[in-house]
């Protein structure tokens, strides 16, 4: 007898009532008086039913009776105008439901069976007089149609019976066999197959993009023709995953024009690293670069640290919360999956989104179908997703940034990164090396496989349009992953129970197993052994599903029992799904029949080579015509309020940045709590060393010159670490290219220039790239309100992230001005370089003179700063970035809650001097007693601007330009995101 019961849990007095109501009002519903929240658990069983007494017991397990009450199969009473219930769609990860299920199972010592379970939903009681349309609109702010179901009832409809009991079941109607696919078709039809996917004969629709182009499909056709058979759907899907832009980075790998025959990656990125490593010889900082899931550098004689930054753009555009959560727990697995398992010890984020105060009317489909989520909802969702991911996993998140530009409206860029730490050796094994051996068992560990994220790899290689698959949406389960991570990194690794391991990310098993198969030279997988979330999945789906929280391990048969026993004790699901071989083949079978049998060589190297053509022309923009205001005080306040400059503290304080106990320099510094651009964290508690993280990205510069854009990013990322005291020779870089329309020669031309700058500046500074990722099609193609076709491309965005080893954490320098009377210097030269600056953007212009960097001069200057910091002469240091010197000085003052009296040179237009974004500069404050020593080291590189002290922030040239009380400065800096 199938039955379902509904438990409704409510706080007797909800402390969040005020903040929740205020939040909903701020989303555009000022008339809302009150929003109550009730947590709902729906328990459905098939075989047995729970008695009323048992349900009462269950309720007691799920609440705290001191402050909560609950009802069983009875409507919660309340005063409200309408009720909105938001639950999940069938098959969507429901973490709270899964916890409730485990609690009930543990209490009754029973197990829910297939098709039974607990799912959760949130019931909102809204007190507000709203029209039906407004009610719908409010509900849409609480839910995302891709993952949520919503039911609305008016007070009358709610009546005495309340909401309906809804039981979720996954109904699948799939072809449960693998079938051959005919590629002997016209090119037009073949192209359609590549773009829209294999036609599923049973349901009559296409399965979603393979993202294979015609030359690739021809190569596959030829290959199978030679073998005298047609490829199966599973083989085709598998090749599509492995050959995807996401996995093979074809654009970076292909020859370009006549001068880059080896491709951009080998020539400029890997090329730079190889050149630096060779020069450094024995002092090489790198341990493992580009080959593993993360890049690794030396931490000390016993440990290494890893870093990896990923993007999760397309999924986050569709479901910001789920997309960002999946992104952060995914990149955590790039740490866990490094070598034989590094421990994730720092999380990192970066968000490029449109202005959250705008609400553009754009649609993925015609006729106003499938509207884009508003930027505010995207921002809120990704902020929360990374919070849940990091906080629940016990990984601190001290470092991140957020950048706004209208062109991120269709494709926000969501960067997520993780640093890991690992001993170089354990029991005589080098932990950063791994190799699956023939005969090792293929063991899948962690979560089960569902339809989540099917076509993730191929889909992120395509531009987002109305045909984008909804199954690409996934929600992570950080606790399942935490159990997995602890069991592997804190236990199994040091017991030597496996020989190799990798993460199941893009492409799922099809990519992870095939990748590891390279180590042993073959694999044989039994797909019917893979544990599933629900029955009825087709073999190709099991093979490419991107269900989260899974790793693939190679376990020697002799270690299998011990390994499985340990996983069992940790309640981590582990299943043998096949064997690594040395057959030279990737074989997968389904019900004792081979459904995939492809040579590894073809799978990994059969991809036809491309030769890309690029073109380049520099655009000319008009220069601003505004005169310099005589009073720059209002300008200074406006600049501090700019979204790319002001405080985004609301993000920082939701992220646990102190867990693991290594906090040294956090995200907010000084009494005034200003966001710095670098952080320092101890990752080995017994060591004096720390890991510094920083970054640089200047998307607006791309409009003028991507070469200078890349140079500025590299310089800022390095300078951020120099400012806290990390030596230049202990710094490594990561590149994340987020480009647009990368099939257009002009965009490729921009890409080539940026990549060239990466080579030039990395080698000039001697800072190697250790890891990188690219995402080449960040374009939105859709429609406006009038059904006019719209294409919005992100500005070519290169994020340079830096990681460096600080030799003595207690010598680190924070950004806040420390004492009255301290001397304020600017280090580095200020030129009239405002092209692409925040100030020109404020004036409504782009301009042309983008900051250019003399790397040799900068390098010499940084060595002097390094020396001054090592000699403990520097009281505070801050790298000048967005908004230039004026903004940097103001931030240092606000951070110290101390005024400043400054006199600037008169040679340049004062507003240009204050807001020029010339690279290579720092603001430093120095105790007067150290002034002479400092000036002796820095020489002409340091210019004295004034002193710390007083109640006001004043800037003079020939006359007073800025005179502002500190409180006003702080308010301008902190007010824009208050209430977020």
């Amino acid at each position: 007898m199938a039955s379902a019961h509904r438990l409704e849990v409510q706080y007797k007095q909800d402390p969040r009532l005020k903040s929740r109501t205020a939040r909903i009002r701020s989303l555009g519903f000022p008339s809302v008086q009150e929003v109550q929240l009730i947590d709902v658990y729906t328990i459905s069983t098939a075989a047995k039913d729970f008695s009323p007494a048992e349900l009462q017991k269950i309720g007691e397990q799920l609440v705290n009776p001191v402050v909560q009450g609950f009802t069983v199969d009875a409507a919660t009473k309340g005063e409200f105008d309408f009720a909105i219930e938001v639950g999940f769609l069938p098959g969507v990860t429901d973490n709270a439901g899964s916890t409730a299920r485990q609690t009930i199972e543990d209490f009754f010592k029973m197990r829910f069976r297939e098709g039974e379970g607990v799912h959760t939903s949130q019931l909102y009681f809204v007190k507000a007089k709203l029209s039906a349309t407004e009610m719908q609109k409010l509900a849409s702010k609480l839910a995302n149609p891709l993952v949520n179901r919503v039911h609305i009832k008016t007070r009358q409809e709610y009546g005495a019976k309340g909401m309906d009991v809804v039981v979720l079941r996954v109904h699948l109607d799939e072809l449960l066999e693998a079938e051959p696919v005919n590629l002997d078709i016209e090119d037009a039809e073949l192209a359609k197959l590549g773009k829209e996917g294999i036609l599923d004969k049973k349901i009559g629709t296409r399965r979603g993009p393979l993202a294979l182009d015609l030359p690739q499909l021809h190569a596959i056709r030829e290959h199978f023709k030679k073998r005298g058979r047609k490829p199966t759907d599973l083989e085709l899907e598998s090749l599509a995953q492995t050959w995807s832009e996401h996995c093979k980075h074809t654009i970076f790998a292909s020859a370009m024009d006549d001068d880059v025959p080896q491709g951009l990656y080998k020539t400029y990125i890997q090329g730079a690293t190889n050149c630096i490593r060779k020069q450094r010889g024995k002092d090489d900082l790198c341990v493992s670069v580009f080959s593993d899931n993360s890049g690794a550098i030396v931490f000390d004689s016993e440990n290494l640290v890893t870093h990896k930054v990923e993007t999760h753009n397309s999924p986050s555009a569709l479901d910001p919360f789920g997309g960002a959560l999946t992104g952060i727990v995914g990149v955590n697995r790039d740490t866990i999956g490094f070598g034989l398992g590094a421990k994730p010890c720092i999380n990192y984020y970066g968000y490029c989104v449109a202005d959250p105060e705008t609400e553009p009317k754009l649609y993925r489909g015609k006729g106003r179908a499938n509207p884009l989520l508003p930027p505010r909802q995207i921002l809120d969702g990704v902020v929360r997703g990374v919070a849940v991911g990091g906080n629940c996993s016990g990984i601190p998140t001290p470092q991140g940034w957020c950048y706004f530009d209208a062109r991120y409206v269709g494709k926000p860029l969501i960067f997520v990164g993780t640093v890991g730490v690992m001993p170089l050796e354990k029991n005589g094994r080098k932990l950063y090396l791994k190799k699956a051996q023939p005969g090792d068992l293929i063991v899948m560990v962690g979560g089960r496989v569902g339809k989540d994220g099917i076509h993730g790899a191929t889909f992120s290689s395509e531009a987002l349009d109305s045909g984008s698959p909804v199954t690409a949406v996934q929600i992570g389960d950080p606790i399942t992953q935490k159990k997995l991570s602890d069991a592997i990194v804190k236990e199994a690794r040091d017991l030597g129970l496996y020989t190799s391991m990798t993460d199941n990310g893009a492409g799922g098993l099809s990519c992870s197993v095939a990748e590891m198969a390279k180590e042993s030279n073959g694999c044989h997988v039994q797909l019917d052994k893979v544990p599933l979330k629900y029955p009825g999945m087709a073999p190709w789906e099991i093979w490419v599903s991107e269900s989260q929280e899974r790793m693939t391990l190679a376990v020697p048969p002799a270690k299998l029992d011990e390994f499985m026993e340990l996983m069992g004790r940790r309640e981590v699901e582990a299943t043998v799904i096949g064997k690594f071989t040395n057959s030279g083949k990737c074989v997968a079978e389904w019900k004792c029949k081979a459904v995939m049998d492809v040579d590894l060589k073809f799978l990994h190297d059969g991809l036809p080579k491309k030769h890309l053509k690029s073109s380049y022309s520099q655009k000319k923009f008009p220069e601003p015509s505004q005169a310099c205001p005589s009073d720059l005080s209002p300008t200074m306040l406006d600049m501090l309020k700019r979204k790319n400059i002001c405080s985004k503290e609301f993000i920082t304080t939701q992220y646990d940045y102190v867990v693991q106990g290594g906090h040294v320099l956090g995200p907010l510094q000084g009494k005034g709590q200003v966001q710095s651009i670098a952080s320092l964290t101890k990752v080995v508690l017994s060591s004096r060393k720390g890991v510094g993280l920083s970054q640089g990205t200047y998307p607006l510069y791309s409009d003028i010159d991507t070469y200078c854009m890349a140079a500025a990013g590299i310089d800022t990322a390095i300078r951020g670490l120099i400012a806290i005291g990390v030596p230049l020779d202990k710094i490594a870089l990561l590149d994340n290219f987020c480009w647009c329309s990368s099939d257009e020669p002009e965009r490729l031309g921009q890409l080539k220039r940026a990549a060239k700058a990466c080579y030039d500046y990395a080698t000039a500074f001697g800072t190697p790239f250790i890891s990188g990722k690219d995402s080449m099609f960040n374009d939105f193609v859709g429609f406006d309100e009038k059904d006019k076709r719209v294409k919005i491309s992100v500005p070519p965005t290169l994020l340079i992230s830096s990681i460096g080893i600080h030799p003595e954490a207690e010598k680190a320098v924070s950004m806040d001005a420390k004492c009255e009377g301290d001397l304020i210097y600017v280090v580095g030269e200020t030129r009239e370089e405002l092209g692409g600056s925040e100030y020109f953007a404020y004036l409504g212009h782009v301009g042309n003179r983008v900051p250019k960097l003399d790397a040799a001069g900068a390098k010499a200057r940084y060595a002097k700063v390094e020396k001054a910091i090592a000699g403990e002469l520097v009281a505070s240091a801050y790298p000048v970035n967005y908004g230039g010197l004026g903004v940097a000085l103001a931030k240092v003052a606000v951070a110290g809650r101390l005024g400043m009296s400054l006199t600037i040179p008169q040679a340049m237009r004062p507003d240009y001097y204050l807001f020029s974004e010339s690279q290579g500069r720092f603001v430093v404050t120095i105790c007067p007693a150290n002034g002479e020593k400092f000036e002796k080291i820095l020489g002409a590189d340091a210019k004295l601007l004034g002193t710390v002290g007083g109640q006001n922030f004043t800037v003079k040239a020939d006359k007073t330009l800025v005179n502002l009380p500190m409180a006003q400065l702080e308010e301008a800096y902190k007010s824009p995101f208050r209430g977020y």
Binding site: A100, P478, Q654, G661, H663, D816
Partner: protein, 291 residues
Amino acid sequence: MNVAKRAQPISEKALIMSGYGINSEMETQEALRRAGMASEIVHINDLIAGRKKLSAYRLLVFPGGFSYGDDTGAGNAYANRVRNNLWDELLEFLDNDNLVLGICNGFQILANLGLVPAFGRKYAREIALMPNRSGVLECSFVTLKPAVSNHWTKGIERICCPIAHGEGNFQCAPEVLKRIKEKNMICFKYVREDLSPAKGEFPFNPNGALEDIAGITSEDGKVLGLMPHPERAMEFTGLYDWPLQKELLKRGLSEAPVRPGLPGCRPGTLPSESLNMQFFRNVVGYFGKRD
């Protein structure tokens, strides 16, 4: 400045619970080690399976974390797992001369188990750590002042700890609060930096806790639940304002909240550890007399 001298460990051992999303076990172990007590991190399932025995230890710590992702209420699901599987061993442990410490998620677990306040050693749920008033997780540094003099607070004038929780808003019925106060069970309160009462004001009281309560003990004083994390700022450089304090110390203008007499705290030098270590010395001091 050197990393703190290692104390000679006492013979009593601590058990630090882990599993299901608990995440502060390693820094808790390090803090205890520095204070002179060895410990073992034990997965709850190994206790349930009988592979480890609670009776082999004198101090039981439920460290910070996000057990079960805070689902069904922070600490609730982990408390259920303890109550449904380890209750008898736990009662026996509490009957002996042992200590129990719960930090953050650990406090939430203790509250759901009724190990605090445990009036008359009756283990019923009497208090709740409700969601923060802001409705989101708050991560920041707070100042705490002892509200009572006992073996947990000995020699402490203040501590300065990180917090990172979504549900730390201490609440209970008026009659429960009355008993807690009568029996001197409030152990630490949130205060302003000048040690004056926070009076519920954000950010000094970060979550809206009744009477600024940050931690309470059981009636017999042997169990302590504490929301902030002293173990996450063991060192001087773990404090949020250390760069300023360092400059002031260097210039002889010290207002640094360091306890004189701590290792390395001589004029002109920097303290190696933070004032929070006194808390762990007190815990260890309960078992063995140490200097």
